[in-house]
């Protein structure tokens, strides 16, 4: 049996990869995909802790995270559609309304 710590370490690695994806990608859709990766990393951690600690609450929360991920994907993609319609582009470098 693999130690549960490895699962958690794996979740950390996926998390960092997702984060780097959000930072480096210039395409807004790709950034959104990277967030999905991060959410999955959290799911792995939840389930790993659950099994280690003999509980199922983490899995209940994974269920909620799935729900939220679905909602987030729907709204986020809707926003991307709106942005695209306005700017005719999905390059994150063009979306700098907040520049100081």
């Amino acid at each position: 049996m693999v130690p549960y710590e490895y699962y958690v370490a794996l979740s950390g690695l996926l998390m960092v990869l997702g984060l780097i994806g959000v930072i480096v990608r210039k395409n807004v859709i790709a950034m959104l995909i990277s967030t999905e990766l991060m959410l999955n990393a959290v799911n792995i951690a939840f389930v790993a802790f659950d099994v280690k600690l003999h509980d199922v609450v983490g899995q209940v929360f994974v269920f909620f995270i799935l729900t939220i991920a679905a909602a987030e994907a729907a709204v986020g993609l809707g926003l991307i559609m709106a942005i695209y319609r306005m700017k005719k582009d999905v390059d994150v470098e063009k979306l700098t309304e907040l520049k100081g």
Binding site: V2, L14, A30, V47, H54, T67, I68, G78, M81
Partner: protein, 176 residues
Amino acid sequence: MELSVVAFWILSTIAVVSAIGVVFFKNIVYSVLSLISALIAISGLFFNLGAELVGALQILIYAVAIVVFYVLVISTVPQYKGEAVDPKYALLSAPFGFILFLELAYVSVYGLWASNTGIFSPDIFQQISNAKAVATLLFTKYLFPFEVASLILLVAMIGAILLGKKDIVEDEEGGA
């Protein structure tokens, strides 16, 4: 070597490689395909851990439903022509990401696992299935959040429809 250990290493390798693909593929369609691969690998890990219900939901909701959204949007938006990765940000984020990973791994491997243990020991899973245990908790203690989650889905659906609709702002304000 036990089967589960072999499965872990294989599945985790697939997941990590797919994640790298998600991040670095220039073509967005490849990225989405890598995501699907990663999601399936992760659901395999869930099965490996004994969380059958979550694993199944992972495939059903993520790998099917959510990815379909992405494919739909990608097919609507024309292909992105610019470079995939901003090298300046890649250079900056790589070391920090690496440090973060080291720290997370350190915390995971050597961190304290001091926490209360629950009642669902492997013996109990022998008697009742994982799905039953999760569902029991979901429909008793977490009933209210469960219902709220459904409401959130509804709201997200309406929001997505409104956001995606063409020329909403002008029409609505003109009518009002």
